[in-house]
């Protein structure tokens, strides 16, 4: 504690890391943040149109749960975001900033559609599906492997590389659409071959996939050797090397996994849902998943919560737009961004405590070289504040 040496330039407050809060507190803080941000959102929407904050909330809930179809769509969308988040979790835990989710999803979808397009009608549907599964996972894996190799061997900045690959994937989709759609309209009609089977209703397959991939990732991270190695590399590559972990291998292996999962999501979106492909097929999930993964602290269970929240706000805002007669999406982005900000700020208040050291300043002024007294004063200030906080 060398603060008092520079006491003259101390700020009004400083920040101290908290000890772990009880889970209940954490949830409470998050809940308050979410409600407040949504309330602000409601006010903004009302200002911009004919509604009011109360019906804002009603519309939000109606949009996600208002009918059984809406509920299915909500769960399906949530499962998709969750799956992409699961792809990003191992990468992020390794501090490898995979911003290329969109591109990996898209390239996986493209591979799947290519199988459906070229093999359709010529091979059995089951065979097409099997080939598509492998092709999409492989395509996504390769798309993630490129930045992984560059990072591992040349220390290339992965954020930028993955971002650029997004654009390139999008361009490839445009290229293939130009090749396949001979009428020149750029719109590929749904392909009826090689579609993933519907289990009862069109949504269940995706929801099951989401649940499965979450469970698998949870186990992988927590109980497997890979998972352990992954987090060590993330914490400190040097430590990892010291204990004998081949960092390059871990990076490459993890990114193959990350890309493969994204590729499979691409398969779901194409073969399992729309049966066609376009540049917007990935619905920007690569970026949304970055938010949910990070906000969920790279913890699969928490990510279930964050994915649900993000899906809730997004789908709810669609309903709000309809009900409030808003004919463009500016408000939606505004409010979603606002919710993000609040949650991000939340994380700060959970991890850190703001301590005002007015008392400290006075104490130090009075006894310039009485360091022991000063330290004690500060500690007692903290203890007092702690007690107040707990109440």
């Amino acid at each position: 504690m060398s603060n008092n040496v520079k006491a003259k330039r101390e700020p009004l407050f400083h920040i101290v890391k908290r000890e772990d809060l009880k889970i209940g507190y954490k949830i409470m803080i998050y809940a308050i943040a979410i409600v407040v941000s949504l309330f602000l959102g409601g006010i903004m929407s009302s200002l911009a149109s004919k509604g009011d904050p109360f019906s804002f909330f009603v519309s939000l809930i109606d949009g996600c749960f208002g009918s059984s179809r809406k509920l299915w769509v909500f769960l399906q969308q949530m499962a998709l975001i969750l799956s992409v988040s699961m792809a990003l979790v191992p990468a992020f835990k390794m501090k490898f900033w995979n911003l290329g989710g969109n591109g990996q999803i898209l390239i996986g979808g493209l591979a799947a559609i290519a199988c459906m397009f070229y093999m359709g009608g010529k091979a059995d549907d089951g065979v097409i599906v099997l080939v598509a599964v492998i092709a999409s996972a492989l395509a996504g894996a390769i798309w993630a492997l490129i930045p992984a190799l560059c990072k591992a061997f040349f220390n290339t900045n992965e954020s930028l590389l993955t971002l650029m690959l997004n654009y390139i994937a999008s361009g490839l989709v445009t290229f293939f659409l130009a090749v396949w759609v001979k009428s020149g309209s750029g719109v590929l009609e749904p392909i009826k071959y090689g579609n993933l089977p519907e289990l009862g209703n069109p949504y269940i397959l995706i929801i099951l996939f989401g649940a499965l991939i979450t469970a698998l990732m949870f186990v992988y991270l927590r109980y497997s050797k890979h998972g352990y190695e992954l987090s060590v590399v993330g914490d400190s590559p040097n430590t990892a090397r010291y204990i004998g972990v081949n960092v390059k291998m871990v990076v490459i292996r993890t990114m193959i996994l990350s890309g493969a999962i994204c590729g499979l999501v691409g398969l779901l979106l194409t073969s399992g849902m729309s049966h066609t492909i376009g540049v917007k097929t990935a619905q920007n999930m690569g970026f949304t998943a970055i938010m949910t993964t990070w906000l969920g602290n790279c913890n699969p269970l928490m990510i279930i919560a964050t994915s649900s929240l993000v899906t809730f706000v997004t789908k709810g805002m669609e309903q709000v737009r309809m009900d409030f007669g808003l004919t463009n999406d500016s408000i939606a982005n505004l409010i979603i961004g606002l919710v993000y900000f609040f949650i991000i700020a939340c994380a700060f208040f959970i991890q850190y405590k703001v301590v005002f050291n007015i008392k400290l300043k006075k104490a130090v002024k009075a006894t310039a070289d009485n360091t022991v007294v000063a330290s004690t004063e500060e500690t007692s200030t903290e203890i007092e504040e702690n007690e107040e906080e707990v109440k």
Partner: protein, 321 residues
């Protein structure tokens, strides 16, 4: 060919503003992925300023050139800085993760910009305003192709170049610039020497964001002649500007050349373009493929000078020093 260069240089101003702003921010150790949203914010602010000014004129067909440009620039800078301020607050004071905050800001910023544009900005007079803002030196046409390429651009293009040069000088030669660079490389050491790390970060983020915002304003008012439809185009430029920062090795001087190169690459498909959809789809990929190649080359050669500030993306905690 002349048209290509002229178009490219004009277009490059968008990238140059964004790139210079982001370089300034990154020199302080903060990777601001919110630049796309901030550029949109600058667009909205600048357009708002222009709209208000034009509305206050008794004769909207003859605005005062100096006032028009200044109001536009100041408002654009202001709005962009405010958005940058949100980023700064969250990442410097509240120690939040920079990537996430940046991405959240992009989402928020684009919505915010569209909101302002739709509800508060009266666009009726934009056509006149943009003609003024985009006009080049009067003698440009007399100089033929030379004039076209170098002197026919609006004031904002030259401003972008000037700002890049000023920032470059500031970073390399001034004492404050040195301090800023120190903050970006090793904030702990900078703090120990007495530099107020947080203050430096705040200022560089605010100023950097403001500069980037001018890029969006330029695009709408100059390049697009006041016709603004959607934020999506500007958002895409933001991402390319961030890529450009690496492309130009964090040096604003190189950014001038880099943005022109980027401008050429970006505009090239429209001049060369395939007569078939397939060829044009491939040609549009050129800017991105080239960027990837440059990224690879830079990292393979692993030159010391080409590295980002060492503390880029890392949050600085004084107490953990």
């Amino acid at each position: 060919m002349v048209q290509l260069l002229q178009s490219a240089i004009r277009f490059s101003a968008v990238f140059l503003f964004g790139c210079t702003g982001e370089i300034l921010t990154e020199k302080s150790g903060h990777l601001n992925l919110g630049i796309p949203g901030i550029m949109c914010g600058g667009t909205a602010g600048g357009c708002l300023g222009v709209a208000l000014y034009m509305a206050s004129l008794s004769d909207p067909s003859k605005p005062d050139y100096f006032a028009l440009v200044m109001i536009g620039i100041l408002m654009a800078f202001l709005f962009a800085s405010i958005l940058g301020g949100i980023y700064a607050l969250l990442t410097v004071s509240l120690k939040c993760n920079q990537n996430i905050t940046g991405l959240a800001l992009t989402t928020f910023g684009t919505g915010f910009a569209q909101f302002i544009m739709d509800n508060f900005v009266e666009r009726g007079n934009f056509s006149v305003a943009s003609t003024y803002i985009a006009q080049g030196f009067p003698f440009a046409q007399k100089l033929g192709w030379f004039g076209d390429i170098f002197f026919s651009h609006g004031i904002l293009v030259y401003l972008a170049i000037i700002i890049a040069l000023v920032v470059s000088f500031f970073l390399k030669r001034s004492k404050i610039g040195l301090g800023l660079r120190a903050v970006g490389e090793n904030p702990g050491a900078a703090d120990a020497v007495g530099i107020k790390v947080d203050k430096y970060k705040y200022i560089s983020i605010l100023v950097g964001s403001g500069i980037a915002g001018l890029g969006g304003f330029f695009y709408v008012m100059d390049y697009a002649q006041g016709m603004y439809d959607s934020y999506a185009t500007i958002e895409a430029f933001g991402w390319l500007a961030i890529a450009l920062v690496i492309f130009t090795l964090w040096r604003p001087n190189l950014a001038i050349i880099g943005s022109i190169v980027f401008g050429i690459l970006y505009v090239l498909p429209y001049f060369v373009g395939g007569d078939s959809s397939t060829r044009s789809a491939l040609i549009k990929l050129i800017p991105y493929v080239v960027t990837v190649l440059v990224l690879l080359v830079i990292s393979i050669t692993g030159s010391k000078k080409a590295q980002p500030p060492s503390a880029l993306g890392l949050t600085y905690f004084r107490e953990e020093r």
